[in-house]
């Protein structure tokens, strides 16, 4: 929830090259270059303190918005092919149901999402880098609790042959809220 100190790489299996970049992290430079959204790209955004707003853009595209950094991820189902255009913060995501039918109205199982073609950014806000070669694989699972709460658990693997020695594996959880009363879009921040 707060930006870690420069040089804090705890829990991330970085390479030496990544450490050099992290050691040189300068948020003022990112701000000057208009790169404040480096820590809001797909490999990092779900770990940012944020709310999600999820809706179907069309029958084959799930839209995931974050209020932190005001980002939008598009998860494409079916036979959608990556466009291969200029890399963006959220890259290009192909989604499929691991068990069940795909697209809108899917009847169950985990949602697997593979994201590539990401614009280089930060895995952690203090400048721990991921490269354009990074691949994000996610498994989204929805479940209910005995008290009626509903949660999404996202198991996430980031592979990056340049900056990670092994995959960076995390699991995060999001709780369903009754309405959008707490939805508060904010711009990216480099600090």
């Amino acid at each position: 929830m707060v930006t870690p100190a420069k040089g804090d790489y705890e829990s991330i299996p970085i390479t030496l090259e990544a450490k050099k970049i992290g050691d040189a992290w300068d948020p003022a430079k990112d701000e000057a270059a208009g790169e404040q959204c480096r820590a809001y790209g797909a490999p990092a955004i779900m770990a940012v303190p944020t709310r999600l707003r999820i809706s179907w853009q069309d029958d084959r595209t799930l839209k995931v918005e974050t209020d932190a950094g005001t980002q939008t991820r598009l998860l494409h189902f079916g036979d959608w092919k990556p466009q291969g255009g200029p890399a963006g913060w959220q890259g290009e995501s192909v989604a499929e149901w691991e068990r069940g039918r795909g697209g809108r109205g899917a009847s169950g199982g985990s949602l697997k999402v593979v994201t590539k073609n990401v614009r280089p950014g930060y895995l952690r806000k203090n400048g721990v880098p991921y490269s354009a070669s990074a691949t994000l694989t996610e498994y989204w699972d929805v479940g209910a609790e005995r008290n009626g709460d509903r949660w999404i658990t996202i198991t996430s693997l980031v592979d990056d042959p340049k900056y990670l020695r092994v995959a960076y594996v995390t699991a995060l959880q999001f709780k369903h809220e009754a309405d959008g009363a707490k939805w508060e879009p904010t711009p990216c921040s480099a600090r």
Binding site: V2, P4, K6, Y9, G143
Partner: protein
């Protein structure tokens, strides 16, 4: 940094229901792969680090009274942490099937214990939970059901203990629900603790493991624990190490190390939510990382522990 790991809430316009099939094999050796919270899992959290814990006033007061020396008392030396520690601890999981010797049907899953956590048996045969007056064993009492391709477990009869390994309390009235889901060779568990005594809201954590048939966990149950007098006065029986209200020596520990305001350090449900970030406007992190900087394995000098001293080759 630690706050960064707290998850926000989600607005879910799309929810899917799970199918009534596709159970998976939970058995095997699962190595911990989660790249989260290494410090909490390994060396342990700082004292009075209640960030992100939905402690109520009673839970916070009890936590602040905790003194580590209490664990050295002979009557506490052989105590175990609760089953919630499955998603907090540093070790892998060794999970076995328990089969009915006659029918060979699966009766339970058994999650092997660690040196500081007892065995957790997940009964799958439909048995009821014991009476509320039944004893509370170290491993609690757990039943499980398949909900589609997710194993959901429910644990009662926990012993009073810690919800975080720094004395943040867990009462014997707490219950735990876990959800195990497998993706290829990855196993993810989400655990929710509800404690009407110490928490104002449920507390949720997740963890990932990876199937590793070659694993040789050296972390199973230790040899039978034998209490001894570890401290000169610990066996005297007339002292229970604790802090009186307002006298805890570590309430400013995280403020000193990370510039965090004490409102954040002392936790509470409000520290779990994204909007808590607004109260931290103007926060200035330490100029550079000075402890638990975590670049171990790179073969370069790096601060890998709380000493503040860079050590080479780790």
């Amino acid at each position: 940094m630690r706050l960064l790991r707290l998850s926000g809430f989600a607005l879910l316009a799309v929810i899917v229901s799970a199918p009534a099939f596709a159970q998976f094999d939970l058995g095997g050796h699962w190595a911990r792969r989660s790249n989260q919270d290494d410090m909490e899992s390994g060396p342990g959290p700082d004292p009075v680090d209640y960030l992100g814990l939905p402690l109520n006033a009673e839970g916070r007061a009890r936590g602040l009274s905790f003194q580590y020396s209490a664990v050295s008392l002979p009557e506490h030396q052989c105590g175990y942490l609760s089953p919630f520690y499955i998603v907090l601890g540093p070790f892998g999981l060794a999970i076995d099937r328990v089969l009915d010797p006659v029918t060979a049907r699966l009766v339970a899953w058994r999650i092997g214990g660690w040196v500081d956590r007892d065995v957790t048996t997940i009964w799958m045969d439909g048995r009821a939970h014991p009476s509320v007056n039944a004893p509370h064993p170290s491993g609690g009492f757990t039943t499980g059901v398949w909900e589609g391709d997710t194993l959901t477990t429910y644990t009662t009869h926990l012993k009073a203990g810690m919800i975080r390994r720094n004395g943040a309390p867990l009462s014997d009235q707490a219950t735990m629900t876990m959800h195990f889901t497998r993706h290829g060779d990855l196993l993810t568990a989400r655990a929710m603790i509800e404690d009407p005594v110490n928490l104002s809201e449920p507390y949720v954590r997740s963890r990932v493991w990876q199937l590793d048939p070659t694993a040789n966990f050296g972390n199973g149950l230790s040899a039978p624990c034998e209490p001894i007098d570890e401290l000169p006065r610990a066996g005297a029986g007339d002292i229970y190490p604790h802090y009186l209200p307002g006298r805890n020596l570590f309430t400013n520990e995280l403020t000193r190390y990370y510039n965090l305001p004490q409102d954040a350090v002392l936790g509470g449900a409000h520290t779990m939510y994204p909007e808590f970030r607004k109260t931290l406007t103007g926060y200035q992190p330490p100029e550079v990382c000075k402890r638990y900087c975590g670049c171990g394995g790179l073969g370069v000098a790096c601060i890998t522990d709380g000493s503040g001293v860079a050590q080479g080759g780790r």
